[in-house]
């Protein structure tokens, strides 16, 4: 093995620009890593032929010397992004056979930046889940192992996380509605950032909860995340919520200088019964930032406790509206009808056969909280609580806080199947530290910070001011350098 697949984006870019290597060589190295990694369940629709064609045109551009920022860099694409002519089914049976006639803005931006796409990666069905166990393709598996246990890579962007951690690609794109980039990044020892709501266009991304969904990069380093985010985001006429704010050169903002930055430690994130290992990791992270010149202060975000319950009203409500389009008429899978069955039976059976249990549950919860008589009690109340959660953050930022440090997840990766017997709420608790960020529309990044006593990675999350991803990634980059996390999973697949 040549091992080019283990490179970071920055390493590959520099070698490509220096003409030390071709994109075709790096791409072939990834393709061969992907073919040897079916046990991880990460890549679910492979597009090696397209990838090689893209790599060859990237090589041509590189030869001409006017290569864009991601020229020749092979990536994994979450199955939520529409890619023209490539199966795109949000890991759901209901989109079996769907091949979009159009390209999502984010993947179009990446392709315009010269990226090579290796194929679609696994995820929870419609991005609803925290363990990648609700996918129609079967589980994605974490390349990290404890004893002989098969562990979850987290979710919903579990395939992206597994693929990056196992070096099947240089980086991948994920989406994050309640923690779906940051939680899997933490579980697999990689970096994942959810940008400010509106940074990335949502056009062509299968919608889950439109007021919360954002795309973001999942990478091997903060520098890679900065390079990739810049290429992905920007204003798009096709998404009315995408922002016209200028996109800075994020990589140039990674100076390593965080002197006089003020980092907040929110006391409400210290949960009862939290693992002492996570507690000490959190404290170590704060000490590292202090040593690097930042000031660390205790802060309060009083409505934190209500973020998850508010999320589990708002997200299902939006999902029930968004998923109404899967009716077996215009695209996707229609149930086989018996003679005489009506159009209502067609809708009901197509949706019952096509959606998995968790998706059905959330659509129905959403239908309930939006239904006459309950709209005010549930949906409107949750939106008011959301305003209060956002105000908690506005208050601490107004008081001078630059970024907030928290653990990314309440535990390390758990065993696949563990949640099968749990009630639905137990799975939801995985997002307790991440979901506030989506509700407030803020940027949040998870950085690998160490291994627990079982040898599994743990992540720390930094939350930034809106539109200040550059500043946030600079702090994350400083934390990353201080932790010196370089561990990789031992190959068993």
């Amino acid at each position: 093995m040549d091992g080019y697949n283990t490179w970071t984006i920055a390493e590959a870019r520099d070698n490509l620009k220096a003409r030390e290597i071709t994109s075709e060589e790096i791409t072939l190295s990834c393709i061969s890593a992907i073919d040897g990694a079916d046990a991880l369940g990460a890549f679910v629709h492979k597009t090696p032929d397209e990838a090689v064609v893209q790599a060859r045109s990237a090589d041509l551009l590189l030869k001409q010397g006017d290569a864009p920022s991601l020229c020749g860099i092979p990536l994994g694409i979450k199955d939520l992004f529409a890619c023209e002519g490539v199966p795109t089914q949000a890991a759901s049976k209901i989109l079996n056979g769907f091949k979009p006639e159009y390209e999502s803005t984010v993947t179009k931006n990446l392709k315009n930046a010269g990226a090579v796409t290796l194929g679609k990666v696994n995820m929870d069905e419609f991005a609803m889940g925290s363990s990648n166990e609700t996918s129609v393709y079967g589980n994605a598996v974490n390349p990290w192992k404890f004893l002989d246990k098969a562990l979850t890579p987290g979710g919903s962007s579990g395939g992206s996380a597994s693929a990056v951690a196992a070096d099947l690609c240089l980086a991948a794109i994920g989406t994050d509605t309640g923690g779906s980039i940051r939680q899997p990044a933490a579980f697999t020892g990689i970096v994942g950032i959810k940008p400010t709501y509106g940074r990335c266009s949502r056009w062509g991304i299968v919608a889950f909860a439109s007021s919360l969904d954002q795309a973001g990069p999942m990478c091997k380093s903060v520098r890679d995340a900065a390079i990739m985010l810049e290429a992905m985001c920007g204003f798009d006429q096709k998404d009315s919520t995408s922002s016209e704010n200028p996109v800075p050169n994020f990589e140039a903002m990674l100076t390593g200088n965080i002197k006089n930055k003020i980092i907040g430690i929110p006391r409400e994130y210290r949960l009862d019964g939290m693992s002492p290992q996570i507690e000490s990791l959190w404290k170590d992270g704060a000490d590292m930032l202090r040593s690097a010149g930042a000031e660390v202060v205790d802060i309060s975000l009083p409505h934190t406790k209500y973020a998850l319950p508010a999320y589990y009203v708002i997200a299902p409500a939006e999902a029930s509206s968004n998923l109404a389009r899967y009716d077996g008429v215009r695209f996707g899978r229609r149930a086989n009808l018996n003679a005489g069955e009506s159009i209502t039976e067609m809708y009901e059976r197509s949706r019952s056969e096509g959606f998995g249990n968790e998706v059905q549950r959330r659509v129905m919860i959403g239908t309930y909280v939006l239904s006459a008589g309950f709209y005010d009690a549930y949906y409107n109340r949750a939106r008011k609580v959301r305003s209060l959660i956002k105000k908690d953050f506005e208050d601490v930022f107004a008081a001078g806080i630059d970024a907030i440090l928290t653990p990314t997840t309440p535990s390390a990766a758990f065993e696949l199947g563990k949640l099968e017997t749990a009630d639905p709420v137990e799975m939801y608790l995985n997002d307790v530290f991440t979901v506030t960020v989506n509700l407030a529309g803020l940027p949040g990044i998870s950085v690998p910070a160490g291994l627990n006593s079982e040898g599994l990675p743990l992540g720390l999350q930094l939350i930034g001011r809106p539109w200040e991803e550059g500043d946030l990634m600079n702090i994350a980059h400083t934390l990353e350098s201080a932790t010196g996390f370089v561990e990789k999973p031992v190959k068993w697949w």
């Binding site: 009315s240 922002s243 209502t344 067609m346 949706r351 109340r381 709420v425």
Partner: protein, 95 residues
Amino acid sequence: MSIDRATAARVAKLARIKVDESSLDILADEFNQILGFIEQLNEVDVEGVEPMTSVSPQKLKRRMDKVSDGDQQERVLSNAPDAREGFFAVPKVVE
């Protein structure tokens, strides 16, 4: 607030998802677990708080009301489970 079989069946109907009679009790139980969790929101004082309508304070952009796309019938129909003579086909809805 507790959800019974009849309410579960009504919600399934509204959501246009077929649920077998035999699964209704389990479904009602799951709804109750989730709604029990959501009930915590009643502890919050929301007096005078506006419900959030947009997470970032930006105005929706306007554009000219004119055709910018179209004439792609074949591509629009290309993923239909049943398309005939340029239309989406469904079971008979009018007697």
